[in-house]
């Protein structure tokens, strides 16, 4: 065999193998992606179908875990996602507002860290297809405008951000290979299908850790101060202004953290976070901060080291949340925001 023919055969095989994997990666992500993907997909499907109800919840993983729509008195969809930041929330709200009719109320919930540092934007939000090409272009524009590359250009030194962004939207298989290997190419299909059905049935709620208690310090415990990233602040502001323009009530409900984390949390972080939210409440009349900004519950109600409530904790929280919702449905939310704080019922 001549060298030319050998190299041609090698290249052809390489391209064919790579192409086949790419096809699989793009066509059946449910077959191999990690077990949180079906939850994200469920939320995308509910958004696409405009199957939302009166209230939507946007926020981070704690909100995704702690608020059980089935326990609430009004039809609710939990659109909060693991590692979610105001960017994902803003995207979800924009899509929800395009529905007819749009939701009547929105509950927003983030921990302090999801305003101050990037989380899993590329690994989750983009890789799972929650953030589409247009949203990425918008993020690029905003990041350049604000001179804040923290999220858009997270991995400095790697691929140029626009190229990486394009490859992600094309589901370039190298970004999915780890999942493909760990997921046994197709072995996650059945479990993920079940998880998808389960998350749709629970209207977006899903659990992470289910341990009967956790005394680990979550992310707030290591924050030195509270300074919102300009790009995250922009999307938070954009989301609130969109909702204000439509006259939709927005309540910021902080999810509880375990006592251990609260004790490790610095006072300047607590104060900075509270001041940040209070400033928004003063700017937007439709935006209210409900109860404490850094509520804390006994460690036994938490299921992992990320301060996600365990099933019993989530039931307790959702029961208290349901009570508050029922009371605010009858009275003005402005009064109740001051009157009702969601606390653990010991």
């Amino acid at each position: 065999m001549t060298a030319t023919r050998y190299l041609a055969a090698l290249s052809a095989t390489m391209l064919a193998a790579f192409g086949l994997v790419w096809l699989w990666v793009a066509a059946v992500p449910l077959a191999y992606l990690d077990p949180e993907y079906p939850a994200w997909l469920a939320k995308q499907q509910m958004l696409a179908r405009c199957d939302l109800g009166e209230l939507i919840v946007v926020g981070d993983s704690r909100a995704a875990v702690d608020i059980l729509p089935s326990a609430l008195p009004i039809r609710t969809t939990n659109l909060a996602v693991g590692g979610g930041s105001p960017i994902e929330a803003s995207i979800a709200v924009a899509r929800a507002l395009a529905c007819a009719p749009p939701p009547r109320r929105v509950v927003v919930s983030f921990d302090a860290a999801h305003f101050t540092e990037p989380d899993l934007f590329w690994e989750r939000s983009v890789r799972f297809g929650f953030v589409d090409r247009d949203s990425l272009r918008d993020l690029q524009r905003v990041s350049q405008q604000l001179d804040d590359p923290t999220i858009y250009d997270l991995r400095r030194g790697g691929l140029p951000a626009p190229l990486r962004s394009m490859l992600y939207t094309l589901r370039f298989p190298s970004f999915y290979f780890d999942s493909l290997v760990k997921g046994g190419v197709f072995l996650r299909w059945w479990r993920n299908r079940q998880a998808l059905a389960d998350t749709i049935a629970t209207r977006g709620q899903y659990f992470f850790g289910t341990e009967p208690g956790s005394s680990l310090v979550a992310v707030e415990g290591r924050l030195r101060n509270f300074t919102a990233l300009p790009v995250l602040d922009h999307y938070f502001d954009q989301m609130l202004s969109q909702l204000a323009a439509r006259g939709i009530d927005v309540d910021f409900v902080a999810m509880p953290m375990n006592d251990t984390t609260w004790q490790a949390m610095r006072a300047q972080v607590r104060d900075g976070f509270a001041a940040y939210l209070a400033d928004y409440a003063a700017r937007y009349p439709n935006f209210r901060v409900v109860g404490e900004v850094t509520p804390h519950w006994p460690d036994r109600w938490f299921g992992d080291g990320y301060a996600h409530l365990n099933p019993e904790g989530a039931r307790r929280f959702s029961a208290a949340f349901a009570q508050w919702l029922a009371s605010t449905a009858a009275r003005s939310t402005a009064e109740n925001a001051e009157r009702c704080a969601i606390r653990v019922v010991e």
Binding site: A9, D34, P35, R127, L187
Partner: protein
């Protein structure tokens, strides 16, 4: 990679790894793992030290024969001393920290036991699967210390592997079987397949003598079969450069 890149510029590098997990003794392991370092340590540390000890013994009229090594003093002087000095320095060469020092000490102990075995039981049968397994376990223990962030972490890990933190029966679901299949496949390659140097043996990829490997049919030739195999390997290489790992909140 270094050997391949050098070969593209018509430079031949010495072999550095020669299937170390196929070693049937720890002495054999060090002749297969990080071979250039072993050679350097031998030339610049072990040999001069052993030579100095030999000269000293000779000046004192002491024997340097094999029988002398079988005595406690002879063994301590001619075997233990150069090995411990060399291996402790080899450990520290890999990095600063207690873990690297312990790694060196551990291998010094392994090598000393290996030498003692050779001296005291010289006529044993050829090393078999048992020797391979024992060597692998010893090396594995050393690797834990080598990779652990601290000595405490290493001890904790070893204790866990020994079941000192409790033992539970794992759920044998599809993912457990997948993990087992992966391990079985990888061990089959490690112990059953020839290494890259042996596959390319006919083309003298590196300096030094390359011993023939198992499965003689796995010797590269410019054929369609090899082109297809290398094409798939290249695709796998390209697929694995993404660097996007999974972050799981879940215990999955």
């Amino acid at each position: 990679m270094a050997i391949g890149l050098a070969r593209m510029f018509n430079v031949r590098f010495p072999l550095n790894f020669n299937s170390p997990y196929k070693a049937r003794s720890v002495i054999d392991y060090w002749q297969r793992w990080h071979m250039t370092l072993t050679r350097y340590l031998n030339l610049c540390l072990y040999d001069p030290l052993a030579l100095a000890i030999a000269r000293r013994r000779r000046a004192r009229g002491q024997s340097m024969r094999r029988e002398a090594q079988a005595t406690p003093l002879g063994f301590a002087e001619m075997v233990l001393l150069p090995i411990f000095v060399t291996m402790i320095l080899a450990g520290v060469w890999h990095g600063s920290g207690l873990t690297f020092l312990v790694f060196g000490l551990l291998h010094a102990i392994y090598l000393s036991v290996n030498h003692a075995w050779r001296i005291l039981r010289p006529r044993t049968a050829a090393a078999g699967v048992g020797s391979l397994a024992l060597t692998y376990l010893c090396v594995l223990l050393g690797a834990i210390v080598f990779r652990a962030p601290s000595l405490t972490a290493a001890v904790q890990l070893v204790a866990g592997m020994l079941g000192l933190h409790g033992v539970t029966v794992a759920a044998f679901d599809a993912h457990a079987w997948l993990a087992i299949a992966w391990l079985a496949g990888l061990y089959a390659i490690v112990w059953g397949a020839p290494n890259t140097q042996q596959i390319m043996r006919d083309y003298a990829p590196a300096l030094g003598r390359i011993q023939p490997g198992s499965l003689s049919s796995l010797r590269w030739q410019p054929t369609l079969r090899w082109a297809a195999a290398f094409g798939c390997a290249a695709a796998l290489g390209l697929l694995s450069v993404g660097g996007t790992g999974e972050f799981l909140y879940f215990q999955f």
